[in-house]
């Protein structure tokens, strides 16, 4: 046979994405691009007040409009749709997809229209008249904790969704036994204590594609197909089936092209439940496509945690104790993971430091706002922010270089696996290496000289540095109500091409490319011969989904395991053909042959063909080449890194400009460094966005004041310098590729590094901390000594 061309190794290469051709040509199908015969359109009438009792809803004018199929109020919907379930074990008030008698945030659905097209549906929703008896709006979270001005959910005294959960040193795993001696001793011994209240403000995730859903119940078959802009079609299937009286076998959930998720598309939302229920009830396909204005009120927000941070240290910079009291403003209801997100802030309070005593407490509070849930980083950026800002304040107090203070307190490489005071077991790490690399890339000493020279000229220039460690590769099943595994099935087709399914359902992460790289190497076949299938429960048998930076660490491992199984079976078929022992075979450049005897090799395709028409069938084998695997990770992964910022503040206007951002990230082994860079860039942009320009703001009446892109600023291209990226590589022992996950990393260190840089720039004004966002007005007031 002719010599096979030598195939390039794919893993570790900057392979350009195979998703892109359809996307750059406008040939991809997002959910709002779907049109089905007879499809009706939904529009929701939403509450325009933050809190109140519904006195009456008049739908008559809407019902009379030409093209309106039906109108349902919350009360009518409640007759056939059960309350929305949540995915955490915390107690939760009843949450109806469409409000029945009380509205608890501006934007909560109160009625829904089914109509011929989206214009008619919107007209009809506008024609619905709702009258309310308004109630006082609960907006300020710390006032809400006292039950003022009013209690939102009758069974939740003082608006406490989660009254108080302790964690850390001296606290038993279930939180029932608390011993304060170690933490109190630490603060008694402290030579310096940093105490600061910090606000990690509310953010809007703002995927560029708003949410959307198409539901199609086929009465003849009794089955439902639901297309949704979701990060996790399998979880969607579970919940849609349960609330519609269907089995999971009777529901097919499809995530078509998904235009970004950032955690906000994990949830199963009211509109998805309603669309499914109405399609079932009316027997027609229905579509709902979210407007941006709707997205700001109807899609979950993120962050919104007040942290009271106390850091105890010796004068030499040794940190000996940390207290973190967290108050989370979770909005009006518990959504799928709402209550669990701030617990991750407690879990990651240990940061990258060996702190002997830590005490965290968490209180979660209802307010009359859009519910919060996961947003890129989900609890970990908050932990990083609180601890890193406090470390920065400590460095300033002790007049130490912020890098040297960190270095003094790091968990050392020989301490891994490292059991933290807050219940995590860090898998691997070398924090000093990441710090040193970042200092080197940023030219830290030169930057400091530059800053000082600028200051001498009267310019307000500052430097900020932050370390981070995050929990990724989520995660073992104990930590997730859905289970924390991932699934994959790898099939060698009759023609020798490979198709593989993954439950890790991407929305921009490029899994079609990275997973194909992995299989191409595993079988030594051309990359072009591998297809990755995802996002459809009718094709992908099982799955959890994409969140918590888990695609590669968990989904990639399941893929590799399924590949290994089918490879083993294929080797047995090849062994029969070659009259060799399977252990002596080598898969090389699209062939399978006996090691050291390449002339005898069979093509990969011919072995595949034999497996599907095995005459004679080798003993002990079934025909065919398709194997599946579930991977249950033994632990999370803990990537880490160091981000360094330089900012300049305009003395006249108070406007901060980001001059430099260096990011050194350690995500373990990388499958595709190009894609990893893209992930980090995006995370940095969102992290800087939080620091500098993003904030969801409510008025005292509970009205959202930042309800469009005119008022809620997401970063534009002009807002950034060129990011400078480097990587260190500390593999994880948790999975065979040693890959840790990278989707959220960028949001961790960038935010505190920018804020610390701004505080540094304002050092001459006696400022120790500035809460985000860094509005020019706020900085101008500091520069001008509080003058307004």
């Amino acid at each position: 046979m002719p010599a096979s061309p030598v195939l390039p190794k794919m893993v570790g290469e900057r392979v350009k994405r195979r998703e892109d051709p359809r996307l750059i040509r406008g040939r991809a199908t997002y959910v709002d691009d779907i049109a089905l015969v007879g499809m009706q359109h939904l529009a929701f009438k939403r509450s325009d007040i933050a809190h109140g009792r519904i006195r009456a809803i008049d739908t008559s004018a809407a019902e009379r409009m030409d093209g309106v199929e039906a109108v349902f109020t919350g009360k009518q919907i409640a007759e056939f749709l059960a309350p929305m379930p949540i995915g955490t074990p915390f107690p939760s008030p009843e949450h109806r997809a469409v409000a029945v008698d009380t509205v608890r945030f501006a934007g909560e659905p109160v009625a829904v229209v089914v109509a011929r097209d989206r214009y008619v549906a919107r007209d009809a929703a506008d024609a619905i008249v709702v009258s309310y008896d308004p109630l006082p709006a609960v907006v300020d979270v710390e006032r809400a904790m006292t039950g003022q001005p009013v209690v939102i959910h009758a069974d939740f005294k003082n608006n406490l969704a989660v009254p108080l959960v302790p964690s850390g040193t001296g606290v038993s795993a279930d939180g029932s036994s608390v011993d304060d001696s170690a933490i109190e001793a630490a603060f008694r011994k402290a030579e310096v204590v940093i105490s600061q209240r910090m606000v990690n403000q509310r953010l809007a995730p703002t995927t560029m594609e708003p949410r959307g859903v198409v539901a199609h119940f086929e009465p003849g078959k009794g089955t439902m197909t639901i297309w949704s802009s979701t990060q996790n079609p399998h979880i969607l299937r579970t919940f849609i089936a349960a609330l519609n009286g269907l089995g999971e076998d009777q529901v097919r959930a499809i995530a078509p092209e998904v235009g970004g998720g950032f955690g906000a598309k994990i949830n199963i939302y009211a509109e998805e439940y309603v669309a499914a229920a109405l399609s079932k009830r009316l027997g027609v396909p229905v579509k709902w496509a979210e407007d941006r204005s709707e997205a700001f009120v109807a899609t979950t927000h993120g962050r919104d945690i007040v942290g009271y941070v106390d850091l105890a240290a010796k004068r030499d910079g040794t940190v000996i104790g940390l207290k973190l009291r967290l108050i989370a403003d979770i909005g009006a209801y518990n959504m799928l993971l709402t209550a669990a997100i701030p617990t991750l802030t407690m879990m990651m309070a240990n940061a990258t430091y060996d702190i002997p005593a830590i005490r965290c407490t968490l209180t979660e509070v209802f307010t009359n706002k859009t519910p919060t849930d996961a947003y890129r980083g989900a609890g970990r950026p908050e932990a990083t922010y609180f601890v890193e800002r406090a470390m920065d304040m400590l460095a300033r107090e002790l007049n130490m270089d912020p890098a040297e203070l960190r270095r003094k307190n790091f968990i050392q490489p020989n301490q891994f696996p490292f059991a933290t005071q807050t219940g995590a077991v860090y898998d691997s790490g070398d924090y000093e290496k990441a710090l040193d690399r970042a200092l080197q890339v940023a030219e830290w000493d030169r930057l400091k000289a530059e800053r000082d020279a600028a200051r001498a000229q009267g310019r307000l220039v500052g430097l900020g540095l932050a370390m981070y460690v995050e929990v990724c590769g989520i995660g073992p099943s104990a930590g997730l109500p859905t289970g924390g595994w991932e699934h994959s099935q790898v099939t060698i087709e009759r023609d020798g091409r490979i198709s593989a399914t993954t439950g890790a359902s991407p929305h921009g992460q490029g899994n079609e490319t990275t997973f194909a790289q992995m299989l191409a190497d595993q079988f030594s076949v051309p990359f072009e011969h591998v297809t990755i299938l995802h996002g459809d429960t009718g094709v992908v048998k099982q799955g959890i989904g994409t969140f918590g930076s888990r695609s590669q660490a968990v989904g990639g491992t399941a893929l590799h395991m399924a590949g290994a199984k089918v490879k083993k079976k294929m080797a047995r078929f090849a062994a029969a053909l070659l009259e060799a022992h399977e252990d002596d075979l080598v898969f090389e450049n699209g062939t399978i042959g006996v090691k050291g005897a390449p002339a005898s090799a069979r093509t990969f395709a011919s072995v595949a063909a034999f497996a599907y028409r095995p005459v004679p069938l080798p003993e002990g084998l079934e025909p065919g080449l398709s194997e599946e695997a579930f991977f249950e990770p033994p632990n999370n992964t803990y990537p880490f890194g160091c981000h360094i910022s330089m900012v300049e503040i305009d003395r006249q206007t108070g406007e901060p400009t980001l001059l430099k951002l260096v990011a050194v990230d350690d995500a373990g082994h990388l499958i595709n460094p190009l894609i990893v860079e893209g992930q980090i860039h995006g995370g940095l942009a969102q992290g800087v966005g939080q620091a500098m320009i993003e904030e969801v703001v409510y008025g005292d009446d509970g009205q959202l004041l930042t309800g469009s892109f005119m008022d809620y600023a997401i970063p534009r291209a002009i807002d950034f310098p060129r990011f400078e990226l480097e990587a260190t590589v500390t593999p994880t022992p948790v999975n065979p590729f040693g890959a840790k996950g990278v989707g959220e990393a960028g949001t961790l260190g960038s935010t505190p590094s920018v804020v610390s840089a701004v505080v540094d720039a304002l050092a001459d004004f006696g400022v120790k901390h500035v809460d985000m966002m860094l509005r020019p007005e706020k900085l101008w007031r500091i520069i001008n000594g509080g003058r307004s």
């Binding site: 996307l23 750059i24 406008g26 941006r292 995006g682 995370g683 534009r716 990011f723």
Partner: protein, 155 residues
């Protein structure tokens, strides 16, 4: 609702259609012509996901009524590649990993077409300013800048 007849040339093909006077151009393109590559990302003309070329210049099609486009020539993302050959900007976005979820990409590319028409060899600053009417939440823009620079070099 009354209907108006309009005639437009979309991606080189003449189309006559009947539309409500209030129908937005983006809805006309997406729902009547089924050219769904043009996206809708906001309702205040900020995000630029709906950007198309209207008589050769980029325009946000969510801010134009279909009737206003009567008699115009429109190019959407589907019409940018010629004879199966990707436009240099499309090629640049692919080569430089200028997209992740891809939702902003068609609008971003169409905006960049006009940018490069106005400034054939823009500086990085000019590129960043030139695409600041288009929002991307995934990439942090750096690879988009690289993609546009790629197109400048390859043209």
């Amino acid at each position: 609702m009354s209907q108006n007849s309009i005639t437009v040339t979309v991606n080189g093909k003449r189309r006559t259609a009947s539309v409500e006077p209030r129908m937005l151009l983006v809805h006309f393109l997406r729902e009547q012509l089924r050219l769904t590559g043009t996206h809708i990302g906001c309702d205040t003309s900020q995000c630029g996901a709906c950007t198309v070329l209207l008589d050769g210049r980029s325009a946000k099609s969510c801010t134009i009524f279909a009737v206003q486009a009567d008699g115009s020539e429109i190019t959407t993302i589907e019409g940018l590649a010629r004879d199966g050959e990707l436009h240099p900007l499309q090629q640049g976005f692919w080569e430089e990993h200028g997209l992740q979820c891809g939702f902003c990409t068609p609008g971003m590319i169409m905006a960049a077409v006009t940018l490069l028409k106005d400034i054939p060899a823009p500086s990085e600053r000019e590129i960043r300013e030139g695409i600041s009417g288009n929002l991307c939440r995934c990439t942090g823009y750096q690879h988009i800048v690289n993609a546009i620079q790629y197109a400048v070099e390859k043209r």
